[in-house]
Symmetry: D2
Subunit: 260 residues, 4 copies
């Protein structure tokens, strides 16, 4: 028995690879697009994956949103977190169902959403944010993805300290990650993971130096590039444009303090 | 209270960024390395992250293995699955705790390990493999990572059909993924995800064509490149060599059948 | 004694890294820009590199055009040739001052301009183009770069044969390079170079097969990616967007016919 | 009438894409390879491109060396200059037949060889090198490529000044390019080009700052990556390994001094 679209659930209305809409299904609501409008109420009771026509007869598909749809469609008031980077950050952090994770800054909650998704149901994300205006946005995005219960949003400056102890990972996407390194060491369980995402080389150098001076080992920095392919028999080729840079990912693991 | 290293648990003995050892801790066992041997029994009762000296006085750190250590250290009788690719495959598949996933081929179980890690504890991985010699290796690798209870290994040819219904994702790393596309459509729940990893362009073209002909939408193919940085104040630069290609990742989502 | 800007010569009026203008200096002519107009006649008698103010007081620099300025500023009625690709094509072709080169198709003459620039004064470029509308454009671009005397433009279909013999290189940027391979073998001097630029994989495969079947050796295909850096102390990072693909460069050398 | 192989000329004995030998043809000389030896005297009077069998019956092809063969086969006592980088350096420098160029350091003469090749016959390369042991190597490499008459090797420290005036380009591949920037400004003709190749970010930042402070404009830094393709019908794919980094190329043009 397959899951049906219900009122107040979210669907991704997919038009083509460049255009899709993440919307809440409500009875009397219309979604207006450049291809006409869609009566969202008509979706209630249908299966996910259903095809629906707009008022001008153009076909959309009502997909069940995935994690990456929630990430992509986060309100972009702050730096974008790319799925490729989030995927690698999750991998390098070693987190999974049940993990306890500290994150900063929260921003619009794109990375927070991913962390909560992977640690649920028994894990927790503790996310620090100093800019009050972001906290509301992040909370909305987490609510939409149905993940609020796994996250504690903290209106606090993480460079002044981390409240939690014995966490599995500390994950940073902020301007001055190197200031958090000593606090991360204290918060992490032995052998725990540190991951930081930074756009500039200078941030990377300062962070790596702080890690070296604070008992971390297995320190590595990588950048990740993804390139799309245009696939068509006899005409296959890479796409014309690509994102050249988002940021560097630095990761490390906590060792016990060296004996002096 | 932090977790201690116990007998029969695994540790990653880390020497440096190029050399580390994934070993089972047993009382009378020695690990022999080019830097002398290590008495593994001495680790019992220590915290993860502990520093230990080899017989020649060289320091190792006893880390708690992460998912990517289990992946990297899979016995390589078959194609290697890179953490970067596994991370993206997991992201594009949309799976998480509780998901039900079909995979083929099992190979040494590197990707299987990752899938089981992310769907546990309530999800399941159904993995198909026709080559009997791999099944034992995969089982050993899953046992080592303590993930066997979340996986059902099936000695079957997936090109002849998929037993499961209503699964969240079908994930393929095999020579002829296009032959599985119609079966994947039947096995997937509405809006479910298809992901395939292939080294050659020709495989990609055939797979994309099969997806287009079988009711899938949002079909995309990407390749992922990661490049390490050598970080040192005043001398920072990208690394000299990198992996230029592992494979292309094609992903898509199941729509309802078009009305004729 | 340095060269002065004279009437009817070309200058590159440089505003910033995104905006510059390749113009002919004429007495009564004005260049209109979004930063006001420039009296071109005022440049006559000045040194190249001179700074000049527009009518609104914005500074431009009157640079002497380089080869890559002529290439970039070719009228783009056809596919763009990127400096990076042209640079590699020239390198792989082995041509230099004095070389005799066959090229097809001429297009707007961007690659032709580069070839003529490097083979002058004693070399020659024989360039084939079937589309009459391009020939005039190419001629204008070559005139502007002062290179017409080194080029013979031929309104002919190169897939039907090459008139020249004993040439140093055959260089192709056209839809069906594989059809030219047998003619290239006949036209090339022993050990001469073949270079072809193609956007799609399919073109590459057909061309490589034709080369293998026609006595060529040292057959290699590469793609070239360039990424800009944003350099600023403390904020250095790669640029955000880049060209992901222009085309593949296939090159090879003529060996004597194998003895049967 | 085609050119024949003569005594004392150089040939590239090509075995396959991984193995080739740049040798001087002498009457009684043998080339010893892991596939048997080749009697070099037998090549005299043959056409370039001729196939020849080794003592064990393996076929080699006697190609006429191209510029990139001379570059690749330079004795590698110093940093390697890659053809991709040399091709871009030449393009960005704007040099061609007749140009006058200053270069430092000479190293083994790989880049010098390319510069001389493109500026001949009427241009000149003035190359500075402080390490005496390299000068002899560079001279040998230039002699082999038959380019000595276009080059003046100077045993001098370029950071102390450039003797030449009114040159078309200054091209640097050395540890401290920023120290040369003021001298480059004096040596260059108006609108002349500066190009520098550096492995590390720190070198790039210092060089760009020096350029900004010394009247240069159009300052850009790029890195170039090339990736080979394995082309085979039905199995085409990028190669497995690639060079991830050689260096960054910074280029700029001289403007007149800003009026204070």
């Amino acid at each position: 028995m397959t899951e049906k679209i219900s009122e107040n659930s979210y669907v991704l209305l997919y038009l083509n690879s460049r255009r899709s809409y993440l919307v809440k299904v409500e009875k009397e609501k219309k979604l207006h697009t450049h291809k006409g409008f869609i009566e969202l109420g008509e979706l209630i009771g249908k299966e996910y994956g259903a095809r629906i026509l707009s008022s001008t007869g153009v076909e959309f598909v009502a997909l069940k949103p995935q994690l990456r749809d929630y990430i992509f469609k986060s309100q972009r008031k702050t730096q974008i977190n790319y799925p490729k980077d989030i995927a690698l950050i999750v991998m390098f952090s070693g987190i999974g169902p049940g993990s306890r994770v500290v994150e900063a800054g929260t921003g619009t909650g794109a990375l927070t959403t991913a962390l909560a998704f992977y640690v649920k149901p028994s894990g927790r994300v503790f996310t620090y944010e100093i800019r009050e205006e972001f906290i509301e946005t992040a909370r909305k995005n987490l609510t939409r993805a149905n993940l609020t219960e796994y996250v504690e949003i903290k209106h606090k400056d993480i460079t002044e300290g981390i409240d939690e102890k014995n966490v599995d990972a500390v994950i940073l996407d902020m301007a001055t990650p190197w200031l958090v390194v000593p606090h991360a060491y204290e918060a992490l369980k032995p052998s725990g993971a540190f991951v930081s995402f930074s756009p500039t080389i200078d941030q990377v150098v300062k962070t790596v130096e702080a890690l070296e001076q604070n008992g971390f080992i297995d320190i590595q920095t990588v950048e990740c590039l993804t390139r799309g392919m245009q696939v068509k028999r006899g005409k296959t080729r890479p796409q014309t444009l690509m994102t050249a840079h988002t940021g560097y990912i630095t990761h490390a693991r906590k060792a016990s303090r060296p004996t002096p």
